[in-house]
Symmetry: none
Subunit: 131 residues, 4 copies
Amino acid sequence: MLALTIDPHSPKPVYQQIIDQVKYAVACGRLRAGDRLGSIRDVAVQTRVNRNTVARAYMELEREGVIRSRAGQGSFVSDDTGAAVGKAQARKILTEKTDEMVTQARLFRLDKDEVMELTRQRLDKLGRVSQ
Amino acid sequence: MLALTIDPHSPKPVYQQIIDQVKYAVACGRLRAGDRLGSIRDVAVQTRVNRNTVARAYMELEREGVIRSRAGQGSFVSDDTGAAVGKAQARKILTEKTDEMVTQARLFRLDKDEVMELTRQRLDKLGRVSQ
Amino acid sequence: MLALTIDPHSPKPVYQQIIDQVKYAVACGRLRAGDRLGSIRDVAVQTRVNRNTVARAYMELEREGVIRSRAGQGSFVSDDTGAAVGKAQARKILTEKTDEMVTQARLFRLDKDEVMELTRQRLDKLGRVSQ
Amino acid sequence: MLALTIDPHSPKPVYQQIIDQVKYAVACGRLRAGDRLGSIRDVAVQTRVNRNTVARAYMELEREGVIRSRAGQGSFVSDDTGAAVGKAQARKILTEKTDEMVTQARLFRLDKDEVMELTRQRLDKLGRVSQ
DNA sequence: GTGGTCTAGACCACC
DNA sequence: GTGGTCTAGACCACC
């Protein structure tokens, strides 16, 4: 089962921490299409988080098309993790995230090459894990 | 004075909208080191936002090292917008933001080249505005 | 025997998938009054679904008047698929479903003609299959 | 404030009943872009439903792009109620809803003209309320 | 005042 | 066992 690390004091909501870690695991291939996630109950126990909070994270992941849940069966990584949102919407989401990143990088005095290098680095790390 | 565009119905909190727009203005060179920001009172009037909300945004910008406020004189863009956090901390923040972006891009089925291209694009847009 | 396609990872419960497919087959004429459905056991084997799940779907279909089950003989498409509920009840159910559809269509900015066109299209598709 | 009617014994979840009624009110023009909805607390009291349940309905409505919520301000009808979902996705959702409707109508022995008539009727009712 | 998050605990539906 | 819904009540962030 995927090991999740929760920081209850982080400004980032707990359910969002769960979402981000599951997404990363799927993106890097640690979790693959069809793989079963830990059950809501199990994850709640493992992370010492309330069942409802885990359920909310899973609900959101399903809404975004990353996983699919079924009562009595469990939750599974989706085949097409990007299908839930249209191409235009996806582009908008990514552009916003990229702008946030490059803005912050500029404030930290990174030049273009350094930002490109950092991006390549993180892409490589993501790619190297499995697939 | 930097013109701020506030959407009171946006899900993004007003103070966060102010922060993001000031940061972007500084990152792209529209605002430069030493430039004076509009006073809290003036910005509040211009954007029709409560003075406390503007004050909160300025406080956060100062905490992050983007601006410095001098009592009785106003708020100014900092010389070193990255100095407030250490190099290691800056790297951690940027790495996290980059990871979020590349993770989402992967889920949307973008390949490495497309992510690099998007990053370059947004960097260029940021750079072209002024500096 | 009607070939059912079950997706065990779909958010739609398995029994509901069975119900919907049988209903559609009856509505489009692929199954006609008096036709025998596959036995619960056979359908369970063919779809790799638990027998209880198939039984539940058949029970619901019978409750709605779409099929009739005769002990020892099997389940058959009803002569009058609408008889189980009164005319008023049927009208209420349909009105509700129609309202949901036109409401969502309006939120998606479709005008009346487009909704009428979509409805005609789906009606034609249903009609063309057999009858 | 929009009066909501909740049936706690309906098979339709309470939060879904709230969602459907708000959507209908927006679709028919009873609520218009920019209008403020009742606060989560007020709606909870009026409908005798728990605050969390109302909050969940509002969250879902925001996710679908029908409303926008802001702490300290309230919840407001969105300008572009269809923007949150892509054109292709919207079409898929509507086609599914229409298929459900026409299938059920056929089982109730309505012919094509009657289905078209019913659809026109409900569209007219929706249109007549305000706009 | 407003909405957002989280816990604790219950009960239901599906399998 | 699994996920889904709902209540009750707390605390926080925003304004």
